[in-house]
């Protein structure tokens, strides 16, 4: 009996060590590029099967066309990738091609030499360059050079339940005052007006992205978002927080916003427990799936007392950068060209329903009229207000964002929060020097 037990244990141990060594061994083989095969590491942020399938297909297709290139893909979710990228960047296992948001989030990698200059590559291939919306490329530039290729271009909109709006004779609000009337009407009829999940405060920062843009003059805001010159003393910032807080104080959000996930809020919208959600263009296809034919959208309404440009839209491109340390820059560029060519962009729209920044990729042929309309809104906008959380220095963002939860919980006032933001901005300024 005992002997059997022993031999079983021994066998398991042996088998396991074998797995261990073969697993490590195969890794070694993979990273070495012995027979002229180049391996590229590719990191994106969509582990969800419904999206990752697109990348897997693209890789298969690309590998078939380029037999000397192998692509090793890795996907990390939206929240964890913010840390993961930083952890990875500090190691030898740095990915050759990696996902990044635009704005300061990307600039950080540029400044530390972790991002390859793509200006020449784009200029050499004008057809490629001209096929990409300027609004998609511009936020990835630093000191006049291109560093990133956008995969998507997102706008943020309020999506609403058309049946509920009709029932109470409501229309798309144009101004904030009209918006408040809509909210009040819904609420007084026992409907929770907006579903909102702020457990990860990027969700709240998207409200603030729009509100800050509407309240603060453009030049002032740009100066403040620059780590070297940021002060955040404009009274508009406090106003923006106050407006945001009002939505919660008046009961226009569901209860427990700080422990609700963004997805849960969408779920409530599909279940018709709430009348609206604040979502990105990329989520439009999910809206159609969750509440087919019963929704429409509008941009964040105008604020009359605001000093910001009225023709701006909240939204930003996100996409990919190539590592500054990559051993195979040509192959990596080739892959990005491949990923964003017309044919594959059409497929991106087809499979994922995402808004592609390739001009003409989103059309009525392959997308809903809403998505096309949303894309038009982006094209017509004078400019974009990039996501607050990725457009300001990470340390300021790390004070700003958690404080949005405090704001909604009523534990901190707008003035207190801006004071903390200002202090951190000064510290960041000092370190930037």
């Amino acid at each position: 009996m005992n002997k059997i037990k022993k031999s079983v244990v021994l066998m398991i141990l042996l088998a396991l060590t074998l797995i261990l060594f073969t697993a490590c061994g195969s890794d070694d083989k993979a990273s070495g590029s012995g027979d002229g095969v180049v391996e590229l590491k590719f990191l994106h942020k969509w582990p969800q099967p419904e999206y990752s399938v697109y990348f897997d297909d693209m890789i298969k297709k690309f590998e078939a066309e380029n037999e000397n290139i192998k692509i090793k893909v890795e996907a990390v979710g939206d929240e964890p990738i913010k840390d993961k990228l930083r952890i990875l960047m500090g190691t030898d296992t740095q990915p050759d091609i990696f996902f990044t948001w635009s704005g300061e989030f990307a600039t950080k990698f540029v400044k530390s030499g972790n991002s390859l200059d793509l200006t020449d590559a784009l200029n050499k291939n004008p057809q490629w360059k001209n096929s990409i919306m300027e609004a998609g490329l511009e936020p990835f530039t630093y000191e006049g050079k291109n560093y990133g290729i956008p995969l998507r271009i997102n706008g943020k909109f309020f999506v609403y339940n058309t049946e509920m709006f009709e029932k109470y004779n409501l229309e798309k609000p144009k101004t904030w005052d009209e918006f408040l009337v809509v909210l009040e009407t819904l609420k007084s009829n026992g409907i929770t007006p907006i579903g909102f999940g702020n457990i990860f405060p990027w969700a709240g920062s998207h409200y603030l992205t729009g509100l800050n843009q509407k309240f603060v003059p453009q030049e002032v805001r740009m100066k403040d978002y620059n780590p070297k010159t940021g002060e955040f003393t404009d009274p508009g910032y406090v106003k923006a927080l106050e407006y945001f807080k009002e939505l919660n104080d008046k009961g226009y959000f569901n209860s427990g916003v700080n422990s609700t996930e963004h997805n849960m809020a969408s779920e409530m919208f599909y279940g018709e427990q709430v009348a609206m959600v604040y979502v990105e263009l990329e989520e439009f296809s999910e809206m159609e799936e969750g509440l087919p034919g019963k929704w429409d959208f509008f941009a964040m309404p105008e604020i009359t007392e605001g000093k910001g440009n009225k023709n701006y839209l909240t939204g930003a491109p996100d996409g990919f950068m190539i590592s500054g340390k990559t051993k195979h820059p040509e192959e990596a560029i080739k892959f990005l060209e491949f990923l964003t060519n017309m044919e594959n962009s059409l497929e991106l729209v087809e499979v994922t329903g995402w808004p592609s920044p390739i001009i003409g990729a989103v059309s009525l042929d392959n997308s809903s009229e809403y998505l096309v309309e949303g894309m038009n809104a982006i094209a017509q906008a004078e400019g974009m207000a990039l996501w607050l959380d990725t457009d300001i220095h990470i340390k300021i963002s790390d004070v700003y964002l958690p404080n949005l939860q405090e704001l909604l919980n009523g534990t901190k006032t707008p003035e207190q929060i801006m004071k903390e933001v200002q202090d951190m901005a000064l510290e960041v300024q000092k370190e930037a020097e």
Binding site: E79, Q405, N409
Partner: protein
Amino acid sequence: MNMYRNKKIAVFFMLPAVIFVVLFIYYPIIQNFFYSLFRWNSFSPDRVFVGLDYYRRLFKDPVFYIALKNNALYAFISIIVQVGLGLVLAAILEEKAFRKYQTFFRTTFFLPAVISITVVGLLWQLIYNPNIGLLNAALKAIGLENLTRAWLGDSKTAMLSVIATSQWQYTGYIMILFLIAIQKIPEELYESAMLDGANAFSKFFYITVPQVADTIVVSMIITMIGGFKVFDEVYVMTAGGPGRSTEVLASYLYRSGFRNDEMGYAATIATIIFAITFVTTLIQLKASKANKEE
């Protein structure tokens, strides 16, 4: 024995363990202090010497004090609940009347300790969820509707909710330590106490507690240190939020290093964790020795 005086052989036996411990426990701690003197981030080769600046900043940093307070609360509640309740439960289960049920309760109470913290954290996150969670549903079911809330989303309850999860998970673990200790108490002590007409309570206070004093100290050290190095529960359940209300030292360390690109500051926090856990252990060990010598 002559064989046992051969130092070379002894060292040979100890060598692997010593190398591992020195290289992967002691060396990193020294290295960590060195890292805390520089401003650097994980992905840039630049390293700026800042001396003790980060330590100065730390002592002025309000988030540091929030974290410290949360850790202290964690340790305090854990000691009260895990050590206190664990001891009482163990004593009850060792009572003659409960012996035949002991296996069942012992197994049940210990069960959560073998489940990974991620599982427990994610599970409780769902239980605390205001919309689909069990807790609010249970409160409604027994008519305590006004107690329902967004447990993890409310700064007032978030930390306590996280701590409660930890108690759920580890009280049974500490209880087992006490069960073992109580089983070692000589039966005669209890028998003679019975003859003197002692009841269950006096038996507990006059025999059990003094007899397991050592285990009390050990388990207090374990839970205390546990309270100051907690990371997983917070990272999984709240990631420090809402606001900074559930930030603990280790989560602040992680956030500073791997999100805010301040490795030096993270190393500074690590040094503080080291100082706190080291000193509390020393104090507790000293106290227990003094206790023994009395």
